[in-house]
Symmetry: C2
Subunit: 218 residues, 2 copies
DNA sequence: ACCTGAACACCGTTCAAGT
DNA sequence: ACCTGAACACCGTTCAAGT
């Protein structure tokens, strides 16, 4: 009685770093940060657990690469030839929209300053600041400030965007948040903030911050 | 032959939420985010695994409570009676120093906008903006912008601060980061940014951003 | 060289049993 | 009511064995 091997047949199409990164983005978009597990990934790619370690260093590396993919697409969409102020606003909006579509990127950007996606954003900003004639340490201060503002906003909006699959859910979330705030601290200043929280527009508020910043550097 | 129970004797001094939060802060300060595990915590508190769940909802709740403890201490140190602009600068510095001493807080702040520590910072800022005569949606835009800037900076500096236990280590880290950047992208604008990165001062750069912001809202 | 999948060394959380 | 610690259902990563 011959016994066939229990081992699964070998996959035919080769794995690659890019294929793995794309699968990771699909998992992250579908289920958030917790959706990216080596087990889910290898099952989706029909491969063994250890296989991905031939192409990526580990889960941290994979998350950074996935975020960089998203940010690359966003920064490349910015038009050349416009004036630097408009370019900074366009760039900011492109990043905002990318984060809105992929909320997990917001959390990831705040995690590690060394990562490629962060360098990409820094560089895009620095180029425009150069266009505004800002140089030396003034440029690096302004660039760092704008980048930090974007990263901070990204992280804050990410939590909201995760729940904004539909408008009702988003409103529920904001109402609950506003109520939790006033419940915890019923100061007038908190009530004001909570009431603005209930009906604010993330995108508009984000751009208001960009404009405060632009006014501050000119 | 009588057999004594293998069970450990019951602890005498009662657990409390505050005792657990304090132990968590000690673990986080000593070993960073990865140092806070239920096992490490219950071993330090000489108690059983499940005991902490009588006082905290879980690890996420505990992290948020620990961050709030640190931020409370920082915001309470801000003096009354000074003019709002000085108060915002003092508040920012107090938060910066708290994050520098407890780098894990920077990462935690970026994780969840609903948490107490975030509300605390929002409120401290809003009070001062009110003092500057900024009201309505202008206040909530300015407050959100400043808070986002602080959260973004916090996360960026956290990664550096974790390595800055001594000056040589910090310089090594910055040099490696600057080299990695220019290696990846040898554009002039990146070389400039990398050279400023090598010898920048986190605290000064953070305050430069606060000042850009203050200029932008007045 | 690349892939497979079992094994390893961890996690957070739950819960029956004790005091 | 509070605590204990085993059990459960997961993780990421490594590595001998296969192709």
């Amino acid at each position: 009685m011959t016994v066939t091997s229990a081992r699964a047949p070998r996959r035919r199409d080769a794995l690659s770093r890019q294929r793995i990164v794309e699968a990771a983005i699909e998992l992250l978009d579908a289920d958030g940060e917790s959706g990216l597990t080596v087990r889910a990934l290898t099952s989706r790619l029909s491969t063994g657990r250890g296989a991905i370690y031939h192409h990526v260093a580990g889960v941290d590396d994979l998350l950074a690469a996935a975020a960089d993919d998203v940010i690359r697409a966003a920064t490349e969409r910015t038009a050349d030839g416009t004036d630097p102020t408009t370019a900074i606003r366009d760039l900011s909006l492109a990043i905002f929209d990318a984060l809105d579509a992929h909320p997990w990127v917001g959390t990831q950007l705040a995690r590690e300053p060394l990562q490629p996606a962060v360098l990409r954003i820094w560089k895009s900003i620095a180029v425009q600041l150069q266009g505004l004639g800002i140089d030396g340490s003034a440029r690096s201060d302004a660039g760092a400030a704008l980048a930090s503002y974007i990263f901070g906003s990204a992280a804050q909006f990410a939590a909201g965007a995760r729940r904004s699959s539909d408008e009702a859910k988003r409103q529920n979330y904001l109402d609950a948040l506003a109520s939790a705030w006033t419940e915890r601290d019923d100061d007038q200043v908190v009530r004001d903030a909570a009431s603005h929280l209930r009906d604010h527009d993330d995108r508009k508020q984000f751009m208001a911050g960009i404009d405060i910043f632009l006014k501050g550097i000119t």
